[in-house]
Structure formats: C-alpha cells, structure tokens
Subunit: 439 residues, 4 copies
C-alpha cells in the first residue's frame, strides 16, 4: 500500500504548448498561479500516519494537485473534445457538461466539442445515434435541469470499436461522466489507445448518487440527493403521525452504501430507524427490528423508517442473483419486504397503518442544488485543465477538500462504505435514537 | 331537479343571541356588513338557465351565501366546539384546523375547543384515544406542515356511540373535515342528534385530494396536489429524455376522477399522454395506446405518461372487487400494469427504458401552497360563522368563486368527474397532443 | 351601463376558411365541440341582477365565450403572427409566449411566428432591434423561467410607425402581452389598422402583477406573486420574533391596489398589519397606526407589517408628481417612510428592532407557479382561437371561472381595487386581527 | 506561531464521573469508541508543512479531536445547562438549539435546560426578560424555521452581571451561539468564572453568515445563505435580459469577506461581475469597472452584478466611521452607490435599465438547508460532549472535514477572507469571465 507512486497520473507526452490562460508564475501579484506539475497533497493527513512517516523517515503518499498547467500538451486551436455520460442519472450531470463546454471554449478556445449521445452506445456506430455539437449557447441553461442533456445508457460496448470512433472523428480528449463501470471503461479505452500509440486523453468524472466511490470526499449529486429526500422524510413523518400506529417506510437509493439514507435522516431529524446495506440486522428476536419497532409504537404511536435499497439482503434466503445491464446485482425490494413483514408481525398485536414511499427517481432526476452546482463546475474545470496538460486515464475529484487528479483505476478498486464504528454512523444513531444493534 | 328549496340549510332553532362581531348593517361605512339570512346566490349562472327561468317566469335555484350573521344561535361564552379529521391525508387539513380554532377563539371568544384524535374513532370511547385541547398557541404554526395535527382514521363508527360522546362532553358544534364517507357520517350524526332533539350543529368541510366532490368549484388541497406533482413531472421528463426511447410513467392520485393527473400535465407541459378514469381506452389496435406510443417514440425518442390511479380499470378482466376500510373499491395498479404491457409490446420491436414513479404519498402529505392556504382559512371561517348561526348538516364551500353553505347530502350524491367533451379536457389534449380517442 | 352590446367584439370580416382543428359540432360524441359565435356568458350572475332583468323583462349583459371557431378568418397556411411583451415583468409571460407559439404552430399549422424584441420599441425600426423567429423548439423550455424571452420595454411608440412595421412584415395578427398602457396601445393600433382598412387582428393578453385589471377574475402571475411572497413573510416573521420588540416591514407590489399584500398576508398568517392603497389611515392619534402597533408590541413583543407600495400616499404632503416611462405616477417609498416614522415614534418609548424587506424584484421575476402555468396556457390558446377567427381589439381572459373575449377598451376604463367593505378584505382583517380603521 | 500547545483546551478539573453513553473502548466491536483525551488531528495537512516538520524533526501543531469522553466532569443527574443566541440571524440557529437540547436530554439525561432570551441581554436581570425552559417537545420542530427560537440581541453586557446570573441560577454550562463579539464574550465570561474559581463550562458555537470565522472550514448557515441567494440570482438574470441593456445589481451579505457573493455566483452561473470586500477596484479608467461593464453590454445587452455589502469601501471618500450596537463599522451602501454611478456613466452613452435587489433579510432568515442541518446537529452534539467533559472557553467546529475543539480566543484573532490568489477566487473568475483586475 505504501507505494509512493501510487497516485501518479499517466501522461501522453511532453507539454510543448504554452497555455492560453493569462495566469501568473509568482506569488503576491494577485493573480492565480499556474499549478506546478510537481505540486502534491498528502493523502492521509492523520497524526498517526504522520508519526509513522516520521518514524520511518519516509515521505508520505501524495496526490497530484489539480489545476491549470503553464505548459500544455494540446494545441488548443486544433483540438477536438468529446463528452459522454453513462449509467444512471444523478443530479449535476448537466452542470458538469456545461462546465466542460465553458472551460474548453472560453478558457482554451477549443471550437469543436462533440456530444456523444446515449452513453458509450453513442461511440458504437451500429447504434446509429448522431453526435451533437456542443456550444456555450446550447448548454448555457442546462444546469437548471436534472437528467443529462446528452442522454445515457447502461452496459459495455466493444472498446476497440469505441476507440475506432474516437480516432475516426479525430477526437483528442474524451470526458466520460459515469460510475464504476464507466470508469473501468475509461481505463480500458485508455489502454487500447496506448496500445495503438494514440494521443487521446481519456478522463473520468466519477458519478454515483450513492456516494460510494472510494477515496474521494464525496461524489457530485450526493448533496442534492439527500437534500431532495429531506422534505420527503418530513412529509412522511406527517403521514406516520396522521394515523394511530402510523408507520412510514421510505426507500432511498444506496445499493451497497447507505450514505443517502443516513444523511437524509440526519438532515431531517424525524426518522427513527435507518437501515443500510453495511449493517447486519435481523427482524426477529428480543432485540430484533420488529420488537424494537413495537416498543417505539407503544411509546410514541408512530414511526418513520428509512431503508437503503441494498439493506437487509441477508434477509432474502435462496435468492437468485440477477444482474442489470451494467452488471450490477439486482436487489430484492427490501422496502416491500419490510412492509409485508411488519404487517404480518402486528396482525395479531395491534392495528398499524403503513405507507411505503419510494422516491428514487424523484431524487435522481432533480437539478443540482447550490452546493453540487459549485462542486460540478469545479470538477469540470479541473478535468479540462488536466486533459489539456496531456494527462490520461485519470479522474478529477476532491479529497480532503482539495481538487486532485487520481489514476482512474485507483477509485474503482472497491466501493466506499459507511464505517459502522465511525463518527458519521454514530451521529446517525445519536440523531435517531436507534440502538447499535438490531438483533 | 328544479326544487327551489334544494339548497336550504337546516337550522337548530331561533337565533336569539347577538353576534360579538363588531360588523355593520349598512353599506358605505367601510365596515363589512353581516350577511343576511336571506342572501342568496344563483346556482347556475349560464345564459341558457337564465333564459329558461325567464321563459318559465320562475326564480332560479339559489344557494345560501356564507358569512357572519348578526343574530346567532349559540351563546359564545358557554359554547364547546369539537374538530375531527377523517380519511386520507390531503394538503391543507392543518390550515383548516388552525382557521377553525382561530375563528372560534378570536372571532367568537369560544374558550373550549376539543380536538378529536384519529378521526371518528376518537368519538368511540372504546378506542381509548384521549381528546386534545386546542388553543391558538398550539395551532399557530401547524399550517406550515402537511398531514393532520389531530390524526385521522378510515372507516365508520357507530353513530349512536359518537352522538353519546358528543353529548357526554357537552359539545355544541362538531366540525368534521373529511371526504365522501365522512360527510355521509356528518349527515347521519346530524340526523341522530335531531332524533334525540339535540342542539348540536354538525358541519362538514369537504376534503378530497382528487377534487371529486360534486357541485363545488374545487376542494382544498387540490391546487397543492398538482403543484407538488408538477416538478416531479418535469424531472420525470428528464428521466425519459435521459435514455434512448426513454419512457416515464407517473401515477398520480385520482380514483374516479382524473383532475390531478390532468391539471399537473397542464401545469408542466412535458407530458404526452394523460390517462384518466373518465376515459375509455384500449392498449391494442391500430389507434390503441401502444401503437400511438410507438409513433411518438419513433418521432421523439422519449415519452412521458401520466396515469391516474383509477384509470384503465376496464383493462383488468376478471378482477375481484376489493374494498378498503372506508369502503372504497381498491383498484388494480394501473401504473405497474401499463409498465408491463409496454415492456411486452416493445420487447421484439425496440429497446425501451421505462421508469415508473409513484409520488402519491409525497403529494398528499405536502403542506398547503399559498392558494390553498387562503382557501382553507376562508372555508374554516365560514364554517364557524355558519355553526354559530345554528345551521347544521351543512358544508362550507365555494361555488362560482363565492363562499356558500350547502346541505351536506347534496354534495355526496355523486362524484364530480372530468367532462370529456368539456373545455378543461380539451385544453389537456391541446397541451399534450394526445388524440381524442386511444383505441 | 346596461348596454347589451357592451361586450361585443369587433371582427375583421367574414370567416371563410374552415378550421383545421378536428373538432365536433355535436354533443355526445366525446369530442370537444367548436364554440359557436353566438355562445354567450352572463356577466353578472348575482341574484339581484337576475331579478332585475326578470322584472324588466330584459336580457342580461353577456360576454362572448372564448374557444375555437369552426369557420375562421385567416388561411393558416399563409398567416404570419407576431408576439410582443411590454411593461414590467410578471410571472408567466414566458408561459403565455410558449402557449401562443404552440397553439399557432400545432393547432393551426402557422409556420411564421415573429418575436418582437423589447416591447413596442421592437416595432420601431429606428430602435434597431432585430426580430426573433419563434419555433416550438426555441420556446419549449421557457416556461420554466421568469422574465420574458422577448425582452420588454416601457413607454409609448408612434402608432403609425408600429402599424407600418406590421404591414411591411405582412403580419396578420399581433399578440401583445402587457398592462394598462399596452392594452391602450392595442386599441390604438387596432384603430389605426381599421383606418387603413387593414386586416390585422390585434389581441391583448392583460398582464399586471398587481391584479388591478378591471372586470377579469384575476390576472396571470398574481397567484405566483403572493405564492413567492408567502415564505418571505414567514421568514420576516422569524426576523421579528428574533428580537425584543422586533418589527418586520415588508413592502410588496401594488401601486393602486393591494391584492398582493392582502393575499400574501392571508396565505401566510403571521402578519399583523396590511396597509393598502385603497385604505385611508393615519399614523398619529389614539387609534392611529402607531398607537395600535404599540399595543401589539406591548402584548406580543413583535409585529409583522405588510405594506403595498402604493399605500399611504395621503401621508406624503407636498409631494411632487413624478411619472415613470410608462406614465405611471411614481410613488414615495412608503416602506422607508414607515420605518422612519416608527423609529421616531418609539425612540423615547421603547427600543425596537426594525427590518425592512423589499422583495419586489424577487417576486416579479419568479417563474410561474402551477396555477398560473395552467392559466397562462389557457389564455394563450384562447387568444389564438380568437385571432384566427378574425376578431380584433379584444383581450382573452377569464371571468366567473370561464374564458371569454372582451373588447380591449372595456378592461382599461378603470382599475380593479379591493372593496373595503367586501368579503375579501374582511377575511384579511379576520386573519390579521387588524381593526377596520387605523386613525 | 509554531506553538504545539496552541490549540489546547482549558479544563474545569478532573473528570470523575463515568459517561452514561454506552460506547466502546475497543475497535472492531461495531460500537463507536469514546474519543480519547489525547486524540489529535494535524492542523496543516500540506506537504510543505509536513516536510518542514520532517526536516526539523518536530511534531506538527495539532487540534483536539471532538467527541464523547468516557470520563466526564459533570454529574449528569445534577447538571443545569443554559443556551443563549446572540447577534444577527443566520440559518441553522434553531437546528443548533434543537441539537443541544436533544443531546443534553437524551444522551446525558440532563433535565434542566434554560433558554436565555434575547442574547446576552437575557443574562442581565435589569432587562427583565424571563428564562424559557427548554425540553425536547418544545424544540422538536424548530429546525424547520429560520430565526432563533430564543430571540437575540446585539451588543455587550456587563460580564460580572452575567456571571452573577449564571451562578444565581446554578448554571453548570453555558452554550453561546454567536459571532465574533459573542465569542469574545465567551472568553470574557470564562475568565471571570475562572477568577471566581467557578466550575461553569462556557462553550461557543461560532455563527457568522459571512463565513468569516478564521481557521474553521465553514460556519453553519453559510451553505444555506448562498443556496437561498442562488435562485434570486437566476431571476435577477431574467430581469436583466428582460430589458435592452438591462442590468441587475444584487447586494449580498459580506461585511469583510465576500464568500456568500462569490459562492452564490458560482452556484448560479449567470453572473458577470462579483465585487467583494477583499478586492480593490476602481470605477473609472480604461480597465475600470464601468468601462468593462460597457463592453459587456455592447456584446451581450445585459449584465448581472453581485456585490458584497462590504465591497468598494475604498470608493467612499471622507466617510465618517459609524458603528452599530455590536461595534461593527457600518458601511455605506455600495449597492445604491453603484447603481447611481452606473446611471450617471451611461446617461449620455446608452439607455440602461437597472434593477437593484437586496435580499439580505430573506437570506439570513431562511431555514437551514439539508447540508447545514446535518452540520448544525454535529456541532451541537460535539459542543455537549466537550462541555460534559469539563472543557471550557472552547468552540466546537470542523476543520479539514473533522470535528475539533479549539480555544475560543484562537478563532477571534482575525477574520477569514477570500485569498485573491487562491483557487476559490480563480474559480469565480473562470465562471464569470471577470478579469483579475478592474481598474
């Protein structure tokens, strides 16, 4: 793990052009300075790691600082960029598209920007989708809308075919906005290009509404996701209190990680239970979920339950593994399952009124909120600066509050999950009053 | 039908007290005038009806104008009021509760206001729910929240038991906020009281998120309902355009009437099909829904479908009639059904991506919007004025833009539905481009 | 007043073309029927007027029902339409533009639609503004934004010059969205065209955020206006309670009529005083505003005051009349004036904390809410149907909940104001607890 | 500066009680572990600082990690807490109050919680304000409202009097939510208590909507501030485009730091100029603001200008220093000043239409958004944990994304400002197209 070169970014070659950006190279002149290629940020800022390095007399693992370089690889006058959006929707995609187009056009003067329609499918000529020409005028208002201006699709395409298309259209840089599968595609495309000795920069902007991309602080769209979910929880609480022994179950996105469910519950403190994929829990037993729920109802006559879509998979015995077009394992519907189990449990005990609410598509289609809007333009700008500098197979992201470039294959190694012993989950338990264990 | 006394309100007896309201009895003094007991409004203002009356030399059918009376039946100093909310949630219930409490307390100086918990159940002592004392301080902020401050329940209770409870607690007036079943309950309670020679005013405030109460302009909460649904349609449209041949199906409330679905589609003009209970349509056939949908996809590559929950029941053959606790027929889920039929239809034809969105609970739990907020306080104030005047078995409502009192049994005779030949439905077809017939 | 032809609309001539709309001419076929040229609606549906007509044996004053005619004046294939927006901004202008373009294009197949930029200025070639070609694609998203897609301006232009421009560009129908001055312009343009024996239909869509257009139920944008103001009042109330003797003054639009101020106060019942142009009030005296405010502070330690911009003009002695570019009298700033007077009054009495909030531009630039969105498309559709039928110098509007056509000069005769003895103002006083008189 | 004890927190004495929290002391048991008193976080995680320490063989400056301690100073059964909110309003105050009450009551079982009304004034008996008893039931909904449930005031009170009040009421811990002045008050109160040998913990929760508290990542309410401002900018942009040469000027809060203005402009990329207190600029001259604005108008016919309230103070010559009750220097109104200067400049050149929008109170009274809601409860919980452990004269805050305790006097030494050469300001210039220098 302690590989000091772990986070080095590959480059297409020497940067022989001078950036058209009128920036500074000195401090103190009130003009932003170009970021040096040697600028680094410490990856793990903990005192423990610090002391360990001090002990070992070793330099810490570092990341490349993102930002505009003085010398760039591409000749802006003759550069063609392409943008593609893949996988499920997420708030902020249009903001990233807009930011990329604005940065390419206004910062670097790039005149040709190709929009690839409907995800990686758009790079497969057989699918018959036409490219879209992207200009500032076309994208200037799209940040106000959810969804993706370019359309998206799931699933893989033949890497060789995609690289052919890029070459045939003289694309110099490809920006791919997408999740785990998309980023693996970025890597594969980058490797195919390298194999062909091509000079195309391939850049990923990690997208996952679940916030489960490893290493990075937070993925774009995640803040919006729990922001949009939050008033839905408020109203679901009113549903619950509106009936005697009223129970509201709200299913939120979160296939492998419960960040949205947990954050929404923190943001709207009317929730009594948060069930997430990271936790093991059982329904039965003296300290099982149903018994604890029963005590809650006895005391307060209503309950609000937030459940992440991937929670409680251990409860489904003998389930068949089903995969969707992106290769993700399809989950049983825990929300519906819970609802049935609760009805069954209370049938003989007390009348309950259960409302089941699934706002998933409402959440993921929402326009980016202000926080994500700021973040998305930052990601886009830095992606462009990195690509212009000839870097490839990297993602632009933010770690420890700073924008960095990371090798794309570093962020796809595993998924980020909530640490059940960590401060974040503890704050959720504090806020909800939920015990550490259910079962 | 042409019964001139059709809309006369029953009264508990002579009004021997003078209203504490400092109003006027003359015009021109810049002080609102008491509404005379003989003030009437024409029910049908059409020129056709006008001419018919002119021809027949007959007076038109009229309604009682709502408002404060100079002479009132109850002695405000010794009056006890009670409020109950029944049936499903709807935006604005809390506004009505608040308005009732404020009017009773501040306009008439009534000190004792009982909140009946959990609907008509709360009037059944066996259920063991405790009354809530209502004061201005307790209700002053509740208009900012959805749901009902008092809790609700569905289903009938023994009328005799309920009247016993009212009598035992010396209740002088009962305000019941609820739908069809609740209003029938208002009538039954009123008749039982009359049988006992009691002097309790029983008042209904019609509540139905579906806007299907007959005669009245609009039910409270309805404006909020399609207001809340509207951005969900906007985002669903982004879902649809985000995929090649993307289809979004949004199911909105509307058991027997499609007002919410139709109005939401008008308010957010991104919808291509609106399917409502009032219309007959078939899926198959050259001009059936699926064929028309296919043409739409061919042309535009996406489609947005809004379907009212009660639409297309003719499509479910051999269905068993299931009733919920309120006695309403439970419908098959047309949204899920449509989704399956569309998938099946296109399976061999073209790949489609379907998203199914059911925001029902999100809509019905929302706080009232500004328009409904104004309306709800108007309804509440007028209900109080009517009750203080000793009227009973009536509802407060608005017809032809004016507040009126109507006999409660007049509004429960049948449900209001969209006229498929009317201007409103035509505006929906104009806006969506949907043909008059599907099938 | 009792001129039965009062509301007759002028026509350009005989309707010799058949409408391309596939509508019905019979009832009962589930297809909307063309509206007959002789369809009328009673203007005053009160029982008093009804009885009067009955007595006099006279037919009531009627209005022309709006809607599509079977026979139309213009040949859709060769028709050019133009749209202009004038005066101050108001929520919903873009919805009306969008509705006009969609109706012209899709209902009637009109291919040439000219957008006149920056109000009547755009019809004056000297100003050098270029026309904009309007298509469904260009306007399909504009309803989601406030402002006007076409730009606007205030003030008059030479009528003859404007008609020259219309003729030179072979415009067959002009839709003007604007207020009092704009509608007078519509009339003047219509008369100039008539003088020249021209065949150009001139149509007004009344726009006034103040809701002060006479005769009509409500002007578009008004519902949005108090909807947007409503949470601002909620927060202003929190400002007031956040300080000891905290006072919030919120100035809302309303030059001659206080509808926005009054409706916003009704919609968000946290307001204690509503001061409107229609009412006379004094600051001093035992029952003057300041004394009543002082009592309120003594009791509750905070107060929220909503003041319409045109209120209290009687308080400004010796003011000079100043007019803006549209010829409207410029008012003294009553909000700032009140603030100063309150500070002065309490200086020796008790410390107060005053916050002055002027959200005027925030309100008028907001996108239309759902209710206005529905209304605006209705207005637009009906305006188009009327123009195609060859009507001219008319406005499309809604009276007694029904769409009608009115002669443009009928709605500009005087401004609509709040009746201080009416039900609406009484409901405001009930909600706020404000006395009938201040001073 | 390199004082390793710089961030050590003072303590009231030995922690002799065991925390009632059922937490863990070991890793791996899926239960959150108590935070050790010796847990530290590196203050400056930059590679430069890292290398410097490595070179010098010195330990880095560290901060105390916030969180629940196993041993606590106060006996929860007999502890009285008090909460006070001071200074101007800011979104999230009620969330912090709620979080404190919930944490004191549910985590530690503290039964007596005193709400101090109207800021430090409430600790001065002469002012005659009564304490409020705080319970979970009273505060459970207050997070949904802006403002402060407790009321606030500006200005200093006699420290000795305030400590008398705390002692007389047997207060064991005081939580003060406030800005610069309030935090200095926390320090002064803490010192007075120490002088008296008292055992009262005094805790600050830094509040500044301007985000200008030094050292900390961000102050609560700031995210909401630019979130609320963001749609106002969107609509102001529509105002600007709605007129030929339309200019919208929006003044946002930011006395000494332009964070809100800059972040709002980033979040809603329709802004062309952002003027902040940190920057020097002139109106006149070839590259002055007015000339650059003129070029913008020539090109695009509209402009949106965001100006922080404290910007451009260098433009006011001969101004007298005026201070408000909190001792802050009152600024000239730059917004009005700019408006006048622009009108003057263009008077002879071209007609412009200027709208001036000041949404300050609308922004600061808004309820906290989701992001701030999460943050505020975190701050509150950590403040309680620290106070229970007997720490005093500290603030709870977040630095480098982690919750820490800091000595209160460390954060009041100077104000945080935007670094004009930093990445954040550069992103604003990139987004707006504004040049590095104006003048």
């Amino acid at each position: 793990m302690n590989d000091k070169n772990r986070f080095s970014i590959e480059s297409l070659g020497a940067s022989q052009y001078t950036s058209p950006l009128q920036l500074s190279t000195v401090k103190g002149d009130h003009i932003f300075s170009f970021v040096s290629e040697s600028d680094r940020l410490v990856f793990d800022p903990s005192i423990q790691y610090y002391n360990q390095c001090l002990n070992d007399g070793e330099a810490p693992i570092c990341m490349e600082k993102a930002g505009p370089r003085q010398n760039i690889f591409f000749d802006a006058k003759n550069t063609t960029a392409a943008i593609v959006t893949c996988g499920g929707l997420c708030p902020g995609i249009n903001n990233v598209i807009r930011g990329l187009v604005m940065a390419l056009h206004y910062f670097y003067g790039i005149k040709k920007i190709i929009g690839i329609p409907y995800g990686y499918e758009g790079l497969n000529p057989e699918k018959g989708h036409d490219f879209v020409e992207l200009t500032p005028d076309k994208v200037k208002d799209i940040h106000q809308f959810g969804g993706t201006f370019l359309g998206s699709s799931r699933g893989e395409q033949d890497v060789s075919v995609m690289v052919d298309t890029l070459e045939n259209n003289r694309v110099d840089m490809l920006f791919a906005i997408g999740g785990d599968g998309t980023l693996k595609g970025v890597n594969a495309i980058g490797e195919e290009i390298a194999k062909r000795n091509g000079k195309i920069s391939v850049v990923g902007i990690p997208k996952t509404i679940d916030n489960d991309i490893d290493l990075i602080d937070e993925s774009f769209g995640f803040q919006t996701a729990f922001d949009v979910a939050s008033p839905i929880l408020r109203d679901a609480h009113n549903e619950a209190t509106g009936a005697y022994n009223g129970i509201s179950i709200i299913k939120l996105m979160g296939r492998d990680s419960g960040f949205i469910a947990a954050s929404a519950a923190l943001a709207m403190p009317v929730v009594n239970f948060v069930l997430i994929p990271e936790m093991d829990f059982s329904l039965e037993g003296e300290e099982g979920f149903l018994k604890v729920l029963e005590k809650r109802l006895q005391e307060k006559k209503h309950a609000v339950i937030v459940v992440a879509e991937g929670a409680g998979q251990q409860l489904f015995k003998d389930r068949k593994m089903v995969k969707d077009a992106s290769g993700n394992v399809q989950h049983e519907d825990i929300g519906v399952f819970l609802k049935e189990k609760i009805i069954e449990y209370f049938k003989e005990k007390r009348p309950v009124t259960i409302k089941y609410i699934d706002p998933s598509y409402i959440v993921r289609c929402a326009p980016a909120n202000s926080s994500d809007s700021v973040y998305c333009s930052g990601l886009a700008y830095h992606a462009v600066h990195g690509a212009m500098a000839g870097k490839t197979k990297f993602v632009a992201s933010r770690i420890n509050n700073r924008y960095v470039y990371l090798p794309v294959d570093e962020v796809t190694k595993k998924r980020k999950k909530i640490d059940l012993e960590g401060e974040f989950w503890f704050s959720v338990l504090q806020s909800t009053g939920q015990p550490f264990f259910l079962g």
